[in-house]
């Protein structure tokens, strides 16, 4: 597993880095407004939020599971926080703490369900995603909580030059997550459990703790992303998170994560989300149909996994290692 991590991730990350740099250069030349302070700020702010969404998925994917409820958690947290502040006058700090704890709790519920029942996390988190989203809509009746306190909404607009202040939070959380996954024992155990669950169980790794931790982190990151989007919009929108399923998977998968688990490409995910932001922003700047974003992200996911798959089998053929089983059997990516 470590071999796969070391051999695959840097090459893929380098490729993505090159594409990102080329993309930035092309956009700077083609549309001069790309480098305007305002555009960089807006793009950076969207990226700050969607990167957390992608990392929330990546941490669960690294365990070989998935979380379809990231968007619902983000939306529910934003609604609870804004509702507490606007409707009940709860102090900002207390409301935020309550919201983030709620996000963690939602993640722990997912983790407990997956661990106890051993049922496919796809169907379990599909179920919880509808429960969380339904509670959100049941509370709000699809009407936003307007006029959240200025401390929060100004955080959403704050910038230093072209850099959004919320990017600092995202960068800090990304570094913390990378440190946890690569340096902390529990993080390594989580990756090991994802790489080979049977071996991990036989060698006595704390599978339960790893599962709960991964899902709790996922819920926490979703909660932070929901809070940040609420701050950006200046209101508690019930639709927050409704469109996060695709970007949450696109980032880690383009970044080199395997659905079967065992890999946590933080750098790849970051670079993939930068690429998606560039595409998104580029289409806006050239006044293209916004629906192209959805189309291109789909194409990008396919292209990335097909390329990744091709190079892997090419290497195998080159080294003349006979594959353990025919191509396509119990495929993991």
């Amino acid at each position: 597993m470590t071999v796969r991590l070391r051999s695959l991730a840097p090459g893929l990350a380098l490729g993505l880095l090159v594409i990102d740099v080329v993309g930035i250069l092309v956009l700077s030349v083609v549309t001069p407004s790309f480098l305007s302070t305002y555009n960089l700020f807006v793009t950076g702010r969207d990226l700050s939020i969607l990167l957390l969404v992608a990392l929330a998925q990546m941490v669960v994917l690294s365990l070989g599971q998935m979380n379809l409820s990231i968007g619902s958690i983000g939306g529910l947290v934003a609604i609870i926080e804004s509702g507490l502040m606007v409707r009940y006058g709860v102090p900002v700090a207390a409301a935020l703490v309550a919201g983030l704890l709620l996000g963690i709790a939602c993640g722990v519920i997912n983790g407990l369900l997956v661990y106890w029942t051993k049922i496919n996390s796809f169907v379990l988190t599909l179920g919880t995603s509808y429960v969380f989203a339904g509670i959100n809509l049941g509370i709000t009746h699809a009407t936003p909580f307007y006029h959240i306190p200025a401390e929060i909404s100004s955080f959403g607009q704050a910038r230093i030059g072209p850099f959004p202040v919320m990017a600092a939070l995202t960068i800090a959380l990304t570094l913390l997550l990378a440190t946890f996954l690569y340096q902390v024992v529990l993080g390594r155990q989580l990756l090991a459990a994802g790489g080979n669950p049977l071996a991990a169980r036989l060698s006595g790794l704390p599978i339960r703790r790893a599962t709960l931790t991964a899902h709790a982190i996922s819920g926490f990151l979703a909660a932070v992303a929901g809070t940040m989007l609420m701050a950006q919009l200046g209101q508690g929108q019930p639709t927050i998170g409704a469109t996060w399923v695709l970007p949450s998977f696109a980032g880690p998968i383009i970044g080199g994560a395997a659905l079967a688990g065992g890999s946590a490409p933080v750098l790849g995910t970051v670079l993939a989300m930068v690429l998606i932001s560039l595409i998104d922003d580029g289409l806006v700047l050239v006044n293209a149909d916004p629906f192209w974003v959805q189309f291109l992200i789909g194409a990008l996911i396919l292209g990335a996994v097909v390329l990744g798959r091709t190079s892997l089998s090419d290497i195998r053929a080159f080294l003349k290692i006979s594959p353990g089983e025919p191509r396509g059997l119990e495929s993991t990516r």
Partner: protein
């Protein structure tokens, strides 16, 4: 031949072994559904009115067909996240053929089914050529299909569908509160029942779903089975899309965007295994009826539409957890 024979015996053993449990689960599902019908007949005024039963059963027929499209993919252990995207694209295509080209509904239906079939084939080819998990492939193609549909149609609905088409969903069959769409769903159900019970292809699909490696080692052409399965899943999604635009009287660009839960709930409640190899057509039908009954009944007793979402999510969770518990009790490892 010996291999094929052995394989058939194994599948049959597994199939019948599962059937007893399935029958118990089906009976339980039937009792739960009947319980809800009795409860709503008493508690919700207007539940048993002709008008309500008509729209309930029509809604159920569409939900069940959506569930069939997913069930077929689940039978080989795959997922089809593009069920909604294909259904939406096929429905919009049919709307365009009827409204803009002015062609008769029969032609539009054939074209839409062909679109569904081809998109399903596309999924299958990507899955078999690349060896990539069906989850990722259909996640990506769902985004591609919906994106392309929105780009082409500029997200404009087709709302002037010919009466000869929309009228089909409004008639009452034999004076009963039953839409012809229910008969379409039942016909599809019978066809699927024959496929999985009597046809070689159906057995091969279940074999691939139960153990893909064993199926391949026994000389089964797994790629062919995957191709036909996803083609069928796409055609069924298109059928559901056609039924939905007939019932809605309009082909809307948001068609299919909320089908994911519906597509998974009915099969999962009905005992279809997500890991593949076990399907239940009657279970999916009952699951869809239960789903429609709960949505319809809760609305009638004035429970907010939004809370119904919570309920449906909870029903899905409960169903899969109960399924796991009964299987564990029955000693069947899945």
């Amino acid at each position: 031949m010996a291999f094929a024979g052995a394989l058939r015996t194994r599948i049959t053993a597994r199939f019948t072994g599962g059937t007893l449990l399935l029958q118990v689960a089906l009976l339980a599902l039937l009792i739960v559904t009947a319980g809800f019908w009795i409860f709503f007949s008493v508690a919700a005024s207007g539940f048993t009115s002709d008008f309500n039963l008509f729209s309930l059963l029509r809604f159920a027929a569409i939900q069940i067909t959506i569930g069939f499209a997913q069930m077929v993919a689940l039978s080989i252990g795959d997922l089809n996240l593009a069920v909604g995207a294909i259904g939406g694209a096929a429905g919009m295509f049919a709307g365009w053929v009827m409204q803009s080209l002015g062609l008769p509904p029969e032609v539009a239906v054939l074209f839409a089914l062909a679109v569904g079939l081809l998109l399903g084939f596309g999924n299958a080819l990507l899955i078999t050529w690349t060896g990539i998990n069906s989850f990722i492939v259909t996640l990506a193609t769902a985004s591609l299909i919906t994106g392309a549909m929105l780009i082409v149609t500029h997200a404009r609905p087709f709302s002037q569908l010919p009466d000869s088409f929309t009228g089909f969903s409004e008639v009452e069959v034999a004076g009963l509160p039953i839409s012809p769409l229910v008969l379409v769903m039942l016909a599809v159900g019978v066809a699927l029942l024959v496929l999985y019970r009597n046809l070689r292809l159906g057995r091969e699909m279940l074999a691939v779903g139960a153990n893909r490696r064993a199926a391949r080692m026994s000389g089964l052409s797994v790629d062919r089975v995957v191709l036909l399965t996803h083609g069928l899943s796409g055609a069924l999604a298109a059928t559901a899309g056609l039924m939905a635009i007939a019932a809605d009287h309009t082909a809307s660009p948001s068609l299919g965007s909320d089908w994911l839960l519906a597509s998974c709930v009915s099969p999962a409640i009905g005992g279809t295994l997500l890991s593949g190899g076990v399907v239940s057509v009657p279970g999916t039908i009952l699951g869809g009826v239960l789903l429609a009954t709960i949505s319809n009944g809760l609305l009638l007793v004035n429970i907010d539409n939004f809370w119904i979402t919570v309920f449906l999510g909870a029903v899905l969770l409960l169903a899969v957890v109960l399924d796991r518990v009964t299987r564990a009790a029955g000693g069947v490892a899945s």
